[in-house]
């Protein structure tokens, strides 16, 4: 076994880690589709899907069989290239973002020194999935949904980046591992509380989760930008939404809640517990909040959240300078 040199072993382990994280993210996204419906049922005082298997636990498999065997129909009036490309962008850009998340001290795919910026770049690319999907469908509802989604995502991405800059200023680095290590004594949620609040709002808006799901509001737009999609193409948009939810939860945990840090339990358990708590929180938001009007969503973003993040960044900078003059 002479070819099994330490470097090859190390790179094989790294590849295996990457594949496990990728599959874990997709599977968690898929499981969340069922968990969400069960939780919504619980909170809204109805049953939810409880027929397939014990306590509805096999619902996911039933859904997957259904979605895989449906006819994959591309409308004749659609723009084929973009129609096929859109769900690929939706899924890939979110999955790529998992690359920068350090799960435990030993687990993680890439240790980029521009870590956070990579996530922001991928979030920027993700807008095209909705835009192209909506336009290539040649459908009025899809187009209106795409327009709403892109305007909403653009506005909320502006202060999403600004909300994170407080964390970056306190750490002095974009690197995710350094950000986690800087939170060993005190989680950033306390000094960066407003940054956390605005990032949470922006994260929900960017993943088009309820109450920011105007792009796909059923009552007004039928189903928004993916109305013409069927079978696995729709499945990719659908799972992509949940993968985005998992991603935002994992990012909030990494950036504001100390990542893997925590007493007694091993790091992986702490990370999973915190991420799970935020996933449940997202579902609770959907179960309890009504959907605001679209123009109010926009003005809330620009007139309230953007100034708040700017003030937060200003105060953070001033505090850092006072505490540690150059």
């Amino acid at each position: 076994m002479s070819w099994l040199s330490p470097t090859i072993v190390a790179s094989l382990i790294a590849m295996l880690q990457a594949v496990v994280i990728l599959l874990g993210a997709v599977l968690l996204g898929a499981v969340m589709t069922v968990v969400e419906r069960r939780l919504l049922g619980l909170w809204q005082d109805r049953y939810g899907p409880n027929r397939v298997g014990p306590f509805g636990s096999l619902q996911l498999i039933a859904d997957m069989i259904k979605i895989f065997f449906k006819e994959d129909w591309i409308p004749p009036f659609a723009d084929r290239t973009l129609f096929v490309l859109a769900p690929v962008i939706a899924m890939a850009s979110l999955l790529l973002s998992f690359m920068i998340i350090p799960i435990t001290p030993g687990w993680g795919v890439a240790d980029l020194n521009i870590g956070l910026l990579f996530f922001l770049a991928m979030a920027g690319i993700n807008v095209y999935a909705v835009l192209f999907g909506g336009w290539s469908s040649s459908n009025k509802y899809a187009l209106i949904g795409a327009m709403r989604a892109s305007a909403q995502t653009l506005s909320y991405e502006v202060f999403m980046g600004l909300a994170l800059m407080g964390v970056v200023a306190m750490t002095g680095s974009f690197n995710m591992r350094e950000i986690v290590n800087a939170q060993e004594g005190l989680w950033f949620v306390i000094p960066q509380f407003f940054g956390f609040c605005t990032f949470l709002i922006a994260g929900i808006a960017v993943t088009h989760r309820h109450p920011f799901d105007q792009p796909e509001a059923e009552q007004e737009l039928a189903d928004g930008y993916h109305i013409e999609y069927s079978s696995m193409k729709f499945g990719m948009f659908f799972i992509g939404e949940y993968v985005g939810m998992v991603l935002v939860s994992a990012l909030i945990v990494t950036l504001f809640f100390g990542g893997w840090h925590g007493p007694l339990l091993p790091p992986i358990v702490w990370f999973a517990l915190k991420t799970g708590a935020f996933l449940v929180f997202f579902v609770l938001l959907r179960a309890s909040l009504p959907r605001p009007r679209y123009d109010r969503v926009m003005s809330f973003g620009w007139k309230f959240c953007l100034p708040l993040t700017l003030i937060n960044l200003l105060v953070t900078g001033a505090v850092i300078l006072i505490a540690d003059p150059l």
Partner: protein
């Protein structure tokens, strides 16, 4: 790194050619996005990941989205494609491309006479290095840029302002659209 540089450079050139020759405006914009992303990869290959990431965030992620947005709103359809085809006749593009070819020859000649032995390499520039350079020797340029952007912001908010509530000729719907755009 060298392979990555040349590969992404090649993709950038091919994608930009696609922007020019494509007759469907949305497909042309897609090529332009690919071109911008490959330019970002060139930055990564040259050891400037900060510039590369900003290229993707600002150009591909924000400015191009607005371009695509506007083109989709206009919904040009087959007429637009026909017009583009008419503009791609040799009579129209031959003159400008001849002049551009002269510029290309000058550029290649300049590159040839320069230091041809230099390799594609360089130390990785961190965000901190870029920041201290921008707010050190180039502070004046940053301030001027900020003033320009402020002027643009004031102009945009003046042009797009909603009339006061006591003048009811602007209805609530157009107000919503102005906030959205």
């Amino acid at each position: 790194m060298e392979i990555a540089f040349y590969l992404s450079g090649l993709i950038a050139v091919l994608a930009t050619l696609g922007v020019i020759t494509n007759t469907n405006p949305v497909h042309a914009l897609l090529y332009l996005i690919v071109s911008l992303i490959s330019v970002a990869l060139v930055f990564f290959a040259l050891g400037a990941p900060f510039a590369g990431a900003l290229e993707v965030i600002v150009y591909a992620g924000a400015i191009m989205v607005l371009f695509v947005f506007v083109v989709m709103m206009l919904n040009l359809g087959d007429q637009g494609a026909a017009q583009e085809k008419a503009w791609l006749r040799p009579r129209i593009w031959l003159g400008p491309s001849l002049l551009a070819a002269v510029l290309l020859v000058t550029l290649i000649a300049t590159l040839w006479s320069g230091d041809a032995g230099r390799m594609i390499s360089g130390e990785v520039l961190t965000a901190k290095a870029v920041g201290s350079l921008l707010f050190g020797p180039w502070l004046m340029v940053v301030e001027l840029g900020a003033m320009l952007l402020l002027a643009a912001l004031v102009t945009a908010s003046h042009v797009g302002r909603v009339a006061s509530p006591d003048k009811p000729e602007v209805n609530a719907e157009s107000g919503a659209r102005k906030e959205a755009s």
